[in-house]
Symmetry: C2
Subunit: 161 residues, 2 copies
């Protein structure tokens, strides 16, 4: 099977197997501030196991370029992880289904401005890959002890383009 | 006393009485992804009382212009509230100290690109005030029942400029 993975636009439907798209889509749950602000409620399944607690951190990542050689994906067995871009620049979201405790064929999504993602607990995903500066993201994930990182290195890398 | 409030730059030190500045400041707690990403950990005091739970929502707010007439501030007795801009556009952060269960003189902070804020539980603050489009923010706050909104209307409005 081809090792080339082509990017596709990020939509809630296409991403549902892997996590949540965090965006202002459709009609807001309610208007607040005397009609000046729409509130789109409860967009991410936060899921933290064990002794951990949710926290907000900031990640600053170097930008990557396409085509990208995908050698590794990882997952966090103890918690969901949300990435909220602090800029309007699109970024790349690589995920893979689980197939018997190993990642299957990856998929690659390209975000639109205003979209963040929340990986469900245990979802295989690539490292944070902005495609331009500033590469700043607020991250809502699990803080605490425990073995919360599992990596899988592909025998043959994929090429995302 | 003058009803004019002048904006000041948002810094962690100046904002400490009111909440947390969520930003990549100083050295990262650690580098991840083989040195390609700096992680600035645990930047917000998340504080949710009662039966509530934390959630991630998106707010879409109309932009405001300076000078701004500040008629009202509000606070949330049951939970902290973090605003993470999904763009690099600066926004206005209005807060006020509590003085005997009423807000004292407000202060107004102007964010820099890459800065979010977390209002500590019970902090008086203005409504979400982007100063330009797109006005999109990810919000980490308390979801759940309970009386979590208190408003205070000033007898004489302030002018933020």
């Amino acid at each position: 099977m081809s090792r080339v993975v082509r990017t596709e636009p990020l939509t809630a439907q296409a991403f549902a197997l892997f996590g949540d798209v965090i965006e202002a889509a459709g009609a807001p749950a309610r208007m607040i501030n005397r009609g000046n602000c729409g509130r789109f409620d409860d967009l991410a399944r936060l899921d933290f196991a064990g002794e951990g607690r949710p926290g907000i951190s900031v990640f600053k990542a170097k930008p990557y370029a396409l085509p990208l050689t995908l050698e590794m994906v990882e997952r966090h067995p103890l918690g969901s992880q949300a990435f909220l871009p602090l800029s309007a620049e699109p970024f790349l979201v690589v995920v893979a289904p689980d197939e018997g405790a190993k990642p299957g064929r990856p998929r690659a999504f390209l975000t639109a401005p205003g979209q963040g993602v929340n990986y469900h607990r245990g979802t295989w995903h690539g490292v944070l890959t902005p495609l331009s500066g500033p590469g700043l993201f607020a991250v809502v994930d699990r803080l605490g002890d425990g073995d919360n990182l599992e990596e899988h290195w592909f025998e043959t890398p994929y090429i995302v383009e």
